[in-house]
């Protein structure tokens, strides 16, 4: 074996590398925990764990300052696999160690997969209301709907990120192009009549001229949501139709007619449609008598399967989510005086991996611990 290859092999199988990587990962996790105060949990995951390097802003530049979760996790995985392949020997003495580390490999891979594919949504249901979609808690979209046919809506949804990039959107289903003319990732809206000195709005159509948008600092807090506003110009073959203000703060869609059809346009949380729907039959919120400490929240929902037919009922409450259609619905909150329930919706195809992995690791550690304990007791029993 050439000396360079031997050097690499020795490094990859060494316990020294393991210890260094474990120390690096502790610092990473600790730093990420502290940074949550500023960034919120989602941004922290992207910055520290779902990344090869942790970047920090140094003046104008973004500089990699520390290995990220993917790098440390990947090297740990390589170290683990190589060390075991290199040192593998048959026998019971190390059975616990082998089992535990095999479980660890599965755990790391499983978390990598779930980090890549897990999606989070929320579903808000009013008492008696029915919905077949859930909404993203992070992302928004600009939905343009052809509402000419009262029985059928054709929706074109443009992700907020496209608007933010400022790129012109041309879609075969739309008879006009959409040109972003301005974008605030977080903003406040005011009625123009209440802000007399405000500068002229670029908007000329719809609600636009009547409101004033002010940019706000982007928030990363878990209990807050960014409310973006954008100015979008619609351009038909024969020229501009005007500029509209779109914002998640404007509740109802703005309507207009063009090319003989009637249209609706709204900026809203990104939607994720399902082939079935849920109906909220009853939301219950119990407290302990004489206090405001919550005792239980629960939502009784009816699942209406695709294609009609008899649905079934399910009770979603704390520590008891509904798993249906590859999604998990759990009780996350409530609003409107206990008449609206908020269900968190999670899609995580690799949810089983940690169960298997953790059982293997726990079993392995227990075996190893018992082997040591038995040896210790035997040694002490000897006179």
């Amino acid at each position: 074996m050439p000396p360079a290859a031997r050097l690499i092999r020795d490094l990859l199988v060494s316990l020294r590398l393991t210890v260094v990587l474990l120390a690096l990962s502790i610092v990473l996790v600790f730093w990420a925990t502290l940074d949550q105060v500023h960034l919120g949990v989602w941004a922290v995951q992207q910055k520290f764990f779902h990344s090869v390097f942790v970047f920090e802003r140094l003046g104008e530049m973004r500089v990699p300052v520390y290995p990220g979760g993917y790098l440390i996790g990947g090297l740990l995985l390589a170290n683990l696999v190589c060390a075991h392949a290199y040192r593998f020997r048959r026998g019971w003495a190390k059975a616990g160690i082998w089992t535990a580390h095999a479980g660890l490999i599965l755990l790391l891979v499983g978390e990598l997969v779930s980090g890549l594919v897990q999606q989070d949504f929320q579903m808000r249901l009013d008492q008696g209301g029915t919905r077949n979609y859930s909404e993203s808690t992070l992302y928004n979209e600009l939905a343009v709907t052809d509402a000419t046919d009262p029985k059928f809506d054709e929706v074109v949804a443009i992700p907020e990120s496209v608007i933010a990039d400022g790129a012109t959107v041309q879609d075969p289903r739309l008879p006009f192009k959409m040109v972003p003319r301005g974008y605030y990732p977080n903003s406040a809206l005011q009625l123009r009549s209440q802000a007399p000195g405000a500068p002229q709005s670029p908007a000329t159509q719809g609600m636009g001229p009547q409101v004033v948008a002010t940019p706000l600092e982007v928030t990363y807090r878990q209990d807050e949501r960014n409310t973006p506003t954008a100015y979008v110009e619609l351009v038909g073959p024969e020229g501009s139709l005007g500029v509209w203000t779109v914002s998640t703060l404007l509740g109802n869609p703005q309507r207009f007619d063009y090319a003989g059809r009637s249209w609706k346009m709204v900026m809203r949380p990104q939607r994720h449609y399902e082939p079935y729907s849920l109906t909220l039959e009853k939301f219950t919120h119990d407290i302990y008598p004489g206090t405001d400490i919550p005792r239980n929240f629960s939502s009784r929902v009816r699942i209406n399967p695709p294609g009609g037919g008899e649905g079934r009922e399910a009770l979603i409450y704390m520590n008891n989510p509904l798993r249906y259609g590859g999604l998990t619905y759990y009780q996350a909150g409530y609003e409107n005086n206990d008449t609206t329930t908020i269900l968190q919706v999670v899609r995580n195809p690799s949810w089983l991996a940690p169960y298997v992995a953790c059982s293997a690791i726990a079993l392995g550690l227990a075996i190893q611990f018992l082997i040591h304990l038995a040896a210790f007791v035997r040694a002490r029993m000897r006179p």
Partner: protein, 633 residues
């Protein structure tokens, strides 16, 4: 004779523990104690009035004992009786802690105006170094009352600020306002504001009730009526509404013994029902009778009414009454306070055994640890029975359980090694965790109800218990390592055999800690997946537990790889203390995440001191071995 000394020591300690509930509080009349055992529904659970008194006192003044202006000591029950029935007297007791200088100036006080002047040089010296308070820390309601409007205004300004962004003054004013509100709610729990003879009022109401209600009905219907009577009834009703709106203690049990706790009422609501049902609620009358007897200093009458009321409850609420009695007894016994002292004594005995008298002192230490552990076990078991829950339900009980688990492991170690190291570590951890628990109890009722998301006995019994055992064992490894460093550097007592034994102990405990912290953390992940649909969310508390697991794994791999030997292992184990204390308390101080319990400034200061001390210990251990007294040639 010398052989018997350990037995005598342990026997004396045991007798002191058993006498605790009987002897303490000294001289409290049986009737007052019986009053303390009466059940009410407060903070979501049925508990004795004694618990209401004690937890209120702990929150507002940080201790359970009350001093009157003429320096007599009151028990919590006596204080509660004065608050409920002779409020003008209770208003003169100094029970509100005010430490913040800005808050003091808000209520027209300063350090100088409150300074305590001690007679005698010894007391003055002690005050100077902080063993005696240098100024009055506590104010009476009467002293604060003239400034209520200012306090309320400042509280309104501070309240919207997020907890972790508040200044010291803002936190202090919110705390004082909360204490005052709590006190006022308690004062109006059984009798309305400003009454001197509530029993008389109720009896008169009872007599004139039919006519009065008739007059009100006639007035409402526009018929001729006795205006004065109607007005009197309406005024009475207004006072009852005032009472029912200001208290949060439901003292009046329902007429039938139905198990539904939501049928309990506060006194104001129960009195409002008088007009509908045509008679005054007998429980309210009974309490008014006790109030009359207490106010007019008629102990026989008071005892009689308490006894009669207790026996009427007995028939309907036998089970709840039994629980309330046990809880009051548990409060009086203060098992964790007793345990704290026993552990301290055990630690001193163990240290003594290294320096002198290895035989008897070691045996005494062993006996004391076993006794302290038995007392703590009884205390934890009683709490579990009262609550109907697994041992760990909040930060307070986690401190109790970490101490309990560590001491149990120490007893095993001591049985195996018989070198007083296990008992010394047990004494130290047992004492420290009970002191921490004492300070955590200052936030209120420690048997509080579980919020909905935590309401799962299965997960509390598995995840929480296992992960807390992981914390306990990581701490234990750190403490054993500290003993190694202390004895090695500062004394000549760390011979080769002891050093090797300690190294084996630390290694074994780290293995145990790895197993438990890992299993506990993953069980937490599974709970999270069951209730929130995700296994891992990088929540601060989860991260803290993860860091403990990785740190223990790091210690083991460093040792297997030969990167550290005995001394290095000890340094890593001491650093484990920092990692664990961060996960236990530091993550709560971030004030974010699903698991957090709120920011506490004093706790942050103590955590920093602890971390600094552990770093200093690691620094000491890094001295060249030639400087270690035990290893010097």
């Amino acid at each position: 004779m010398r052989k018997r000394i350990p037995i005598y020591v342990v026997a004396v300690a045991a007798v002191c523990v058993l006498l605790g509930p009987v002897a303490h509080p000294p001289g409290e009349p049986e009737a007052v104690r019986a009053f303390g055992r009466l059940p009410v529904l407060a903070e979501g659970r049925i508990k004795p009035l004694d618990s209401v008194a004690r937890s209120t006192l702990l929150v507002i003044q940080g201790r359970q004992r009350v001093m009157t202006p003429d320096n007599a000591e009151l028990t919590p029950d006596e204080w509660l009786l004065d608050v409920l029935f002779v409020p003008e007297r209770a208003d003169t007791y100094r029970v509100f802690v005010v430490d913040n200088p800005d808050l003091l100036s808000l209520i027209g006080k300063s350090d100088e105006s409150l300074a305590i002047r001690y007679q005698g040089a010894a007391k003055q010296a002690m005050a100077l170094v902080g063993f005696l308070p240098s100024r009055q820390r506590r104010m009476s309601f009467d002293e604060v009352a003239p400034y209520l409007a200012q306090i309320e205004a400042q509280e309104k300004l501070a309240e919207p600020v997020e907890a972790q962004a508040r200044t010291r003054f803002q936190s202090a004013v919110i705390q004082l306002y909360g204490s005052l509100a709590r006190y006022v709610r308690l004062r109006r729990c059984l009798e309305p504001e400003g009454t001197r003879d509530f029993l008389g009022e109720l009896l008169r109401l009872q007599e004139t009730l039919a006519d009065g209600v008739e007059a009100v009905r006639a007035k409402e219907a526009g018929r001729p009526h006795d205006e004065a009577r109607a007005a009197a009834v309406i005024a009475e009703g207004q006072r009852f509404i005032g009472m029912s709106e200001t208290t949060d203690i439901l003292a009046i049990p329902p007429e039938d013994a139905g198990a539904d706790p939501s049928a309990w009422n506060n006194a104001g609501q129960a009195l409002l029902e008088t007009f509908g049902q045509g008679y005054v609620n007998p429980s309210v009358l009974a309490y008014a009778g006790m109030g009359y007897a207490w106010r007019n200093n008629e102990p026989e009458k008071f005892a009689q009414i308490v006894k009669i009321y207790g026996s009427t409850l007995e028939r309907r609420f036998g089970r709840q009454l039994r629980k309330a009695r046990v809880e009051a007894l548990f409060n009086a016994a203060e098992p964790f306070y007793a345990g704290m002292l026993i552990y301290l004594a055990a630690f001193l005995c163990a240290v003594l055994s290294w320096l002198r008298w290895p035989g008897p002192a070691r045996a005494a230490a062993w006996g004391l640890v076993a006794l302290g552990w038995a007392v703590a076990t009884a205390g934890i078991a009683t709490r579990m029975w009262l609550e109907g829950r697994p041992p760990v339900t909040n930060l307070y009980s986690s401190a109790l359980f970490i101490g309990w688990g560590s001491v149990a492991l120490c007893l095993v170690l001591e049985a195996a090694y018989r070198n007083a190291i296990g008992t010394a570590a047990a004494g130290l951890i047992g004492f420290a965790t009970l002191v921490i628990a004492h300070y955590l109890a200052l936030t209120g009722d420690t048997l509080e109800m579980m919020r909905a998301v935590l309401d799962s006995n299965f997960w509390l019994a598995t995840h929480v218990v296992v992960v807390t055992t992981g914390y306990a064992s990581t701490f234990l490894a750190g403490i054993l390592a500290s003993i190694y460093i202390f004895r090695g550097v500062f004394t000549r007592t760390l011979d080769k055999a002891t050093a090797d034994a300690l190294a084996r102990m630390v290694y074994g405990i780290v293995c145990f800690a790895t197993l438990f912290s890992f299993v506990g953390t993953t069980l937490g992940g599974i709970w999270a997946d069951q209730s929130w649909g995700r296994f891992w969310g990088w929540d601060p508390k989860e991260n803290g537990a993860l860091i403990i697991v990785i740190w223990n794994a790091l210690i083991l791999h460093a040792r297997w790889g030969g990167l550290v030997r005995q001394r290095g292992l000890m340094c890593l184990a001491v650093f484990g203390n920092i990692v664990t204390s961060w996960s236990w308390f530091g993550t709560n101080m971030l004030g974010i995440g699903l698991h957090s319990y709120g920011f506490t400034e004093a706790a942050f200061w103590w955590l920093s001191v602890f971390v600094a001390s552990q770093l200093a210990l690691i620094g000491v251990a890094s001295l060249p071995l030639g400087r270690w007294r035990s290893f010097r040639a």
